[in-house]
């Protein structure tokens, strides 16, 4: 089975967010980038699928040279080959998904695994976009996954429960935490990943559909009120919630 997994290179979760001088993007000075946490689950599921059905796992990322770091980690975890769709231009979800789906057409995998969300711009759009560009099915926010015949049987998280979804292959599957326990790269994997080449391809172009006007930091909340330092403050707190905030 030919399996494709998409990974993104994102600021780690503790990043202090500052706005760059262009007023529309993140100031990347001093920011530590990591493999998008949800993509760990996508890689793990791709590797498990290969272990079950045989084949190969190709990992792809669209971005600048810095994305190679994340591709190396994916190789170290066990992906067979890595492809960088090299582009420094800042694309929106539509444009990234378009380029990835064009690449997918040339590789023609039977299934694509991605993360449910990139923790940079939190778009959660890639799954439906790539699938629709390819004329495939998609299942988002997946916490359980199996292939039965020519269908995917998956469980996706919804408000207050789960949906059991049956989708015909080929399909794009977006991994949510809980799907599996991602493996750590082995020492052997890390050594091998250093030797494996990362193929560079020029991605297809596609105009953005989103125009960012400005990026800003949240307006700092007024310093909150410490109502008290022990149990005697409780009546005052409840009174404030009832009369001032009017939320209870």
């Amino acid at each position: 089975m030919k399996i494709l997994v998409c990974v993104n290179h994102v600021p780690d979760t503790t990043t202090k967010v500052n706005v760059a001088s262009d007023n529309i993007s993140l100031d990347v000075n001093g920011v530590n980038f990591i493999l998008n946490p949800y993509d760990d689950f996508a890689i793990e599921e791709a590797l498990k699928t290969k272990e079950k059905f045989g084949g190969e796992v190709v990992v792809v990322s669209l971005g600048g040279d810095s994305h190679k770091e994340t591709l190396r980690k994916s190789l170290a975890m066990g992906c067979d080959r890595a492809v960088l769709l090299k582009d420094s231009y800042s694309r929106d979800s539509f444009s990234i998904a378009f380029a990835i789906s064009e690449f997918a057409k040339s590789y023609s995998p039977e299934i694509i695994f991605i993360g449910k969300q990139s923790i940079d711009y939190d778009n959660s759009q890639m799954c439906g976009l790539i699938a629709t560009f390819l004329g495939w099915q998609s299942v988002s926010v997946v916490v359980k996954f199996a292939i039965e015949g020519n269908s995917v049987i998956a469980e996706r998280e919804i408000e207050g429960g789960h949906e059991i979804v049956s989708a015909k292959l080929p399909a794009v599957i977006a991994a949510q935490k809980g799907l599996n326990e991602p493996r750590y790269p082995s020492l052997k994997g890390i050594m091998e990943s250093k030797r494996k080449p990362i193929e560079e391809i020029n991605p297809e172009q596609c105009a953005n559909k989103i125009n960012v006007l400005r990026m800003r930091k949240p307006t700092a909340k007024q310093k909150g009120k410490i109502v008290g330092t022990d149990i005697s403050a409780v009546p005052e707190l409840i009174k404030l919630l009832h009369e001032e905030a009017k939320v209870i």
Partner: protein, 322 residues
């Protein structure tokens, strides 16, 4: 320019987001002098549709289709697409719920439309819709416009507050979509309710417990406070990882993003990844014995003290209001 609202229902009941999105879209439509219609898809749902009139919708298109009792990504995408063509819709508003977030990118690719996901604010400037959306887990906000001819916005639940402005009812128009076998390539075969309890993403009040509660048994007091307030119980990742609470209660970066009117964090330190999921709550209350806990930096009201004394006292005090 016509605006379409995707009004989500489950089990023949509108989700609160259906009203939120209807009202937010109606306000935008008024500013743009354009028409706004809604679409509801389900098995037998014509009777619930008129109430959307209360939130500014004049006409609701309903699709009654036995095969669509449950959600289907492929069939819903096709139906919305057919409505967009038939009605010549140029802007679509959906809730940023699990359904809306699943549907929006499929429509985006089909309609060549840009999507602004999970918007927390909308306004009209120079005849254009400007959306604000949180990025980097709420540590930043983008103001953006969609430049494609067709435009899609998903709205974060609980952020766009509703007020029933009229008692008017919407007219209901039934639509029979063209559906082929292939439109059912993805189907939901079963919906498993985790329990009858309230989901954190839909709750108006959330009481969240953290590791400072020391054991799963001590969550009894959190549940009691939640019951007293008609609230949902939330959890930090530390307590979910410890197996004290189920993952569907987790709030934060790797859990759920919530925006209730009142968020009470009990014995939660307020790690950035936790705050990522709740910083847009309207009012935040922190109960923590450490005066330097980061949660106090975003709390509107705080008590520095022992949760084991304060929570029971809160329950007692709230009961006095009743």
């Amino acid at each position: 320019m016509k605006i379409l609202v995707f009004a989500e229902q489950r089990d023949n009941c509108y989700k609160k987001t259906a009203f939120e999105v209807s009202q937010a879209a109606s306000k935008i439509a008024a500013k743009l002098n354009s028409e706004v219609i809604a679409l509801t898809i389900g098995e037998n749902i014509s009777s619930i549709a008129p109430q959307l009139g209360n939130y500014g919708i004049k006409k609701v298109i309903v699709v009654n289709e036995p095969r669509l009792k449950n959600y289907s990504t492929s069939a819903f995408t096709s139906i919305v697409n057919q409505i967009v063509e038939k009605e010549n819709v140029s802007v679509i508003f959906l809730p940023a719920s699990s359904m809306g977030k699943d549907l929006a990118p499929c429509l985006s690719a089909k309609l060549n439309a840009g999507v602004a996901s999970d918007c927390t604010q909308l306004k009209v400037e120079d005849g254009k819709i400007i959306a604000t959306r949180p990025v980097f887990s709420g540590k930043g906000f983008l103001d953006l416009e969609i430049t494609s001819e067709k435009k899609i916005f998903t709205l974060r639940p609980n952020v766009f507050t509703i007020s029933q402005t009229t008692t008017e009812l919407a007219t209901v128009e039934e639509f029979k979509p063209q559906l082929e076998e292939k439109n059912f390539s993805t189907i939901v075969t079963e919906v498993k309710q985790s329990s009858s309890k309230k989901d954190v993403t839909e709750a108006d009040i959330i009481v969240t417990g953290g590791r400072g509660l020391k054991s799963p048994e001590n969550f009894a007091m959190i549940e009691k406070l939640a019951d007293t307030l008609g609230a949902a119980v939330g959890a930090s990742r530390a307590v979910v990882d410890a197996g004290w609470r189920p993952h569907d209660e987790q709030v934060g970066q790797t859990g759920k993003t919530v925006s209730p009117s009142l968020y009470i964090a009990v014995a939660v330190s307020g790690a950035v990844q936790h705050m990522a999921g709740m910083s847009t709550s309207k009012y935040i209350v922190a109960i923590n014995k450490d005066k330097d806990a980061p949660i106090f930096s975003i709390a509107d009201y705080g008590i520095i003290g022992d949760a084991f004394e304060i929570v029971p006292a809160m329950i007692e005090e709230i009961n006095k209001l009743k």
